[in-house]
């Protein structure tokens, strides 16, 4: 830690031509190299397992079984086709796309309305509602998933698409409401006030003025929730018995527990299960930091 802070101070200090400063400049090379050694080590630690699974998914069964050669010879692109066909991804992938799109849209609409009310409309009991949402956020899924399952059976919604989507929306709401509330609270009020003076209704103002301006907040919520929903596993496991309705993570475990598929096919299947969300992450990742910090830190 010491060296890191030192390094920064060194870089911020303008070069002063004194012997001590010159000595410091020389001394700083070590810490800066140590800093980058640490950063690169971290990158390798994160990336090597990912590259390794990619390599494994492209190897032949013999090569995979034999050893540590990381370069697939030859590249077995067919593993992905096999995984796709045997793993039933032509069912699971569209299911997950539907669940993700539907629940993210639901969360965005409901959470932005609630977040707006909690940030902007003054009404008695507002603080209590915010407090209640915070408390509900603490209710852990393991404390309620058995009962959620029973409730959905009672409602006739177990093993249905709509039941799963409703559970996903409800689960994503508390944090999303708090993120949107933080976002609206940080926005200037003038435009809404102008709209109100012009006679626009509250709902009209919300749809035509507030929401378009809230795009950065909405994008951040959408990115975080899309990743959460795509990777959701426990409720997908509990709620579905009909495999034609299952989301992709659940479908993947079906494939894992099926009579021992070959390892390289399993690896290819895993990559198919995460590839859409990894691509999405690569495109949208700069919005994650703003969303997480807006929602979680305020």
């Amino acid at each position: 830690m010491n060296t890191l802070v030192d390094t920064a101070r060194g870089t911020k200090t303008p070069p002063v031509p004194t012997p001590s400063a010159r000595r410091r400049g020389v001394r700083l090379r070590g810490p800066r190299m140590a800093l980058y050694a640490l950063l690169i080590a971290g990158a390798l630690e994160a990336l090597v397992p990912v590259l390794w699974i990619l390599s494994g998914s492209l190897q032949s069964a013999e090569q995979l079984y034999k050893g540590t050669d990381p370069i697939p010879r030859p590249f077995e692109w067919g593993n992905f086709a096999t995984a796709w066909n045997e793993g039933g991804f032509s069912q699971y992938l569209p299911n997950s796309l539907l669940y993700t799109a539907a629940s993210v849209v639901g969360i965005l609409v409901i959470a932005s309305m609630a977040g707006y009310a909690l940030a902007r409309i003054e009404f008695p009991g507002r603080g209590a509602v915010v407090g209640a949402i915070l408390v509900i956020m603490i209710i852990p899924l393991p404390a309620s998933f058995i009962a959620q399952y029973k409730l959905l059976i009672t409602l006739g919604l177990a093993n249905t698409r709509i039941g799963y989507i409703l559970v996903l929306i409800a689960g994503g709401l508390p944090i999303s409401i708090l993120i949107m509330r933080g976002f609206f609270a940080s926005q200037p009020k003038e435009l809404e006030e102008a709209a109100a003076i012009d006679g626009a209704s509250l709902l009209g103002t919300f749809w035509r003025i507030i929401l378009p301006l809230a795009r950065p907040g909405l994008v951040a919520v959408a990115v975080i929730q899309a990743m959460g929903v795509w990777n959701e596993y426990l409720m997908g496991l509990v709620l579905f018995s009909d495999s034609s309705l299952m989301p992709v993570q659940r479908g993947l475990t079906n494939f894992v527990s099926a009579e021992s598929p070959q390892q390289q096919i399993l690896l290819a299947a895993s990559l198919i299960a995460v590839l859409p969300i990894v691509v999405f992450y690569a495109i949208a990742q700069r919005h994650i930091i703003s969303g997480l910090s807006a929602g979680a830190l305020k």
Partner: protein
Amino acid sequence: MRRRSRMLAAGVFLAPALAMIAMFTVVPFVQGILLSFQSWDGVSLDAPYVGLANYRFVMHDTEFWGSMKNAVVFGVVGLFVANAVSIVMALAVHRARRGAAFFRTVYYLPGVFSTVVVGVMFAWFLDPKIGVVNQALKAVGLDGLQHNWLGDPKTALIAVAVVFVWYHWGFGFILFLAGRQDVPQELYEAASLDGAGGWAQFRYVTWPGMSHVTGIVSVLTLLSGLQIFGTVQVLTNGGPAGHTEVPTLDIYQQAFQFSEYGRAAAMSVIFGVCLIVLACVQLWVSRRLGGSTDSRAEKGS
């Protein structure tokens, strides 16, 4: 009148959210408590009340309490190991002049993977015969260290904990990085004018400036460690002989393998109450620790 229209507007805007949360989070939570006093097989329409029988069973269920102990291990590993890595790497990336965006993206990448995929990946890496870990040990002549990492009761829990840290530290990293960026630069300038060295700056500026982030991240990582599910299910399914069993998995198995939904609900209640109490205690502690330092940081800026 104006007040009434504001109430109405607030009601309209909040109704969908409150209805959804009430229906699918609060009602099940309460129903779960009721279910823990019932005996339900998951199929029949009626679930007779059995009083404290489920709780009595769980009290003597050594596997459940073993799983609680393992949850504590994952919680502590998340809280101390993953967070230590997170904060060091966040401060390092904040210092980096080149490649900060690259490192930020790469460090969070494992967190984008699903728990199931992380399980599949590491089950392969740790496989006793074809796993890269053992293959690598053999390649460098350390055959003696080859091991059935997930199959040996002595190493299984450690191996899963390592996988958990690999998967999870990027999450804290992102939040710590955001928190570090919010610490005002002037504080560092003032501190260095006062002659504070690197360690003193960390101790008196960075650490207190990030205390609220530390509080939130601690709660979140502790909770996610305690609630670990998918990775464990795929890697070991709680084995060997329950050595990596965790409460969420135990509850799932009790319900969906043994059709003992009442017992599963009782476990859920016990586990859930522990989680809620822990989260509240931790938030309270971090508020208290953070409160004084926060006001100091505000005065400073």
